[in-house]
């Protein structure tokens, strides 16, 4: 933390020749002051009978203060301000870690209770209390996400190809701009869109897996376009020219030279886009709904999906409340695992499919 006596600055202040030696704190004095402040904070909290959270707050504030005052007394204002900022930005990072650690811990803690074989092999059909599982919801999420990908990837990839390889003038600008706009559509609005569209086509009270996929596609397409566009731009123009010069038509050049060269980046981008939509809840809530049994046909009626399943288990528990809450947290845990696996897969793709460049 405050041991930031980093070498470049320090060398500049090292006494040499006629330059007046600058007074500075010994190497670990900053950290020492900070720890002393922390201890004082803990003591204060203990005396006033506060909890752990307040003790940490007191400690961080007093520690930061101690470093600043100590440094100011010995090293002067400028150096003290530098140390103060160091303490502040480090604290900022620490603060961000609190929710992450707390969230992961909580989900693991509460989710592991029902992380069992039954959860993955049973649906909620005719389950009113304990038991049951999310078999139907996990399959539903996989199916709807797959349909979404089948819709979004070709459209997104082709649009990216258009923007990078073909696009000119107004249409290119318009598409770029509106893809940006689409990136910002709230997920619930995407759900309303799919609802309005399918209501016009099939009448009121229609609920389909396909509807959910349409809503998710509105969210996924712009992500696919953006990431694929960035990756395609990285393919050196020299390769396209080399291919043209061999008498290869443009479309074959794109399919056989540009896309294979970019395949690692495309795979990574698409996987991350899938990871982004797989946890979406709101659009599915209003387009797909939820059922207790297993429906694997996205073209017929309501389906269960993992996020919606988790939501209803938590917010509308039945008589045996704890059983519902346990299932909800396990569903949340499975959801996080799914997203994390996709993130890791994306990293692996970019590592193992990258073209071997010898340059």
């Amino acid at each position: 933390m405050s041991t930031s006596t980093q070498s470049p600055v320090r060398v500049a202040e090292e006494p040499s020749g006629p330059i007046r030696p600058q007074r500075k704190l010994p190497r670990y004095a900053g950290l020492g002051l900070y720890v002393a402040g922390l201890a004082a904070g803990a003591l204060l909290a203990a005396l006033t009978g506060s909890g752990i959270a307040l003790a940490v707050v007191y400690g961080v504030v007093l520690g930061t203060l101690a470093v600043y005052v100590g440094s100011r007394a010995v090293e002067g204002t400028r150096k003290a301000t530098d140390r103060l900022v160091t303490a502040l930005v480090t604290t900022a990072f620490g603060i961000a870690m609190i929710p992450l650690v707390s969230l992961v811990y909580t989900v693991l803690d509460k989710g592991l209770a029902r992380f069992d074989a039954q959860f993955f092999s049973n649906s909620m059909f005719r389950v009113v209390g304990e038991g049951g599982g999310a078999y139907h919801a996990i399959l539903g999420t996989v199916i709807i996400t797959a349909v979404t990908a089948v819709i979004s990837v070709p459209i997104g990839l082709l649009t990216a190809i258009y923007l990078v390889e073909y696009g000119t003038g107004r249409l290119k600008k318009a598409i770029t701009f509106f893809v940006d706009v689409m990136t910002g559509i709230p997920s619930i609005v995407a759900g309303l869109f799919a609802f309005a569209l399918f209501t016009l086509l099939f009448g009121n009270d229609v609920r389909l897996g396909l509807m959910g996929a349409a809503a998710l596609s509105v969210l996924m397409i712009p992500v696919v376009v953006r990431s694929c566009e960035e990756v395609l731009k990285l393919v050196p123009n020299e390769l396209r020219e080399a291919s043209y010069a061999l008498g290869v038509p443009k479309w074959r050049t794109i399919v056989k030279v540009v896309l294979p060269t970019a395949v690692a980046g495309l795979g990574t981008g698409i996987t991350l886009a899938v990871a982004r939509v797989i946890g979406e809840t709101a659009p599915l809530l209003i387009t797909v709904g939820l059922i207790t049994g297993t429906n694997l046909n996205p073209f017929d009626g309501r389906m269960a999906t993992l996020p919606v399943f988790a939501y209803y288990q938590l917010t509308q528990p039945g008589t045996d409340t704890q059983a519902f809450l346990d299932r909800a947290w396990t569903a949340a845990l499975v959801l996080i695992i799914l997203v994390m696996v996709l993130n890791v897969v994306a990293r692996l793709i970019s590592r193992f499919f990258a073209p071997k460049t010898g340059r």
Binding site: T168, E241, A242, A245, L246, G247, V257, P355, K356, G358
Partner: protein
């Protein structure tokens, strides 16, 4: 299979900017034609217009005629893709396809066009092209390794092998040695001397010694000032250009009296 190229009144544009103006020249078959001149004079642009690579750049276009053995390369019914199959090109920086092995790079022209070939045929083609590019002995044991793992000079010869594997009539080379060391340069110059029996070769170079060493004819491009179009100032047998040029500007450039 080498062919003659006749260029008449060729103007080359980038959008509205006239880059090269009024080129008239006849390029002989089975010869090496060198194009020299200061940077930005349009010699590379001219070279790229010979196999219609120029129009790959958005907004780029040409006026005038380029005729190869009686066929107008810019005729309304001419497919640029066909033109490029007959007029191959080697670029300034070696650019093997990074996703392909050495073997696949050589047959890329055929494979990318989905030409069906028997394994024995392709093997023979690869060996012929690599031998033609003087690369066979260096890579015959590692044909399945990525082409980008070779040295710069080897990569450039791989690109030449790739270009001659589609059996073009003409080979264009855009400063093929400028990114290479002297030894690799020598290897490629030797190769050009061998290839000229089979191909019409046009090479753009900044290196006048190179032009003098390898070429039979030389064209000198120049421009009057920044923003002015480049012109073909003089086109003559190489010996004449370097000993007794017709134009004062050519002499100034060759003897180094140039800005």
């Amino acid at each position: 299979m080498a062919k003659r190229i006749e260029v008449s009144d060729l103007n080359i544009y980038y959008g509205n900017f006239l880059a090269v103006e009024g080129v008239n020249v006849s390029i002989e078959p089975r010869s090496i034609t060198a194009l020299i001149g200061p940077s930005g004079c349009g010699k590379s642009t001219f070279l790229r217009s010979l196999n219609r690579m120029h129009e790959v750049i958005p907004g780029a276009r040409v006026e005038g005629k380029v005729v190869m053995d009686g066929v107008d390369l810019y005729g309304a019914d001419t497919d640029p893709v066909d033109v490029r199959r007959q007029i191959g090109m080697v670029f300034q920086r070696p650019n093997p396809f990074p996703t392909m092995s050495i073997y696949d790079n050589v047959i890329a022209g055929n494979r990318l066009n989905n030409k069906k070939m028997k394994k024995a045929e392709t093997d023979e083609l690869v060996e012929r092209a690599l031998r033609g590019a003087n690369l066979w002995n260096e890579v015959k044991d590692r044909l399945d390794r990525p082409g980008s793992g070779l040295s710069g000079g080897q990569q450039q010869r791989l690109c030449i092998a790739r270009a001659i594997a589609v059996e073009p009539d003409v080979l264009l080379m855009d400063e093929p040695c400028s990114a290479l060391d002297p030894i690799s340069t020598l290897a490629i110059e030797d190769l050009m001397a061998e290839l000229k029996d089979r191909f019409t070769i046009v090479i753009v170079t900044h290196n006048m010694q190179q032009a003098a060493r390898v070429s039979t004819s030389t064209g000198f491009f120049n421009l009057n000032g920044v923003g002015q179009p480049g012109r073909l100032i003089e086109f003559n047998p190489t010996e004449k250009i370097f000993s007794n040029p017709d134009q004062k500007a050519t002499e100034d450039y060759i003897s180094g009296r140039f800005g």
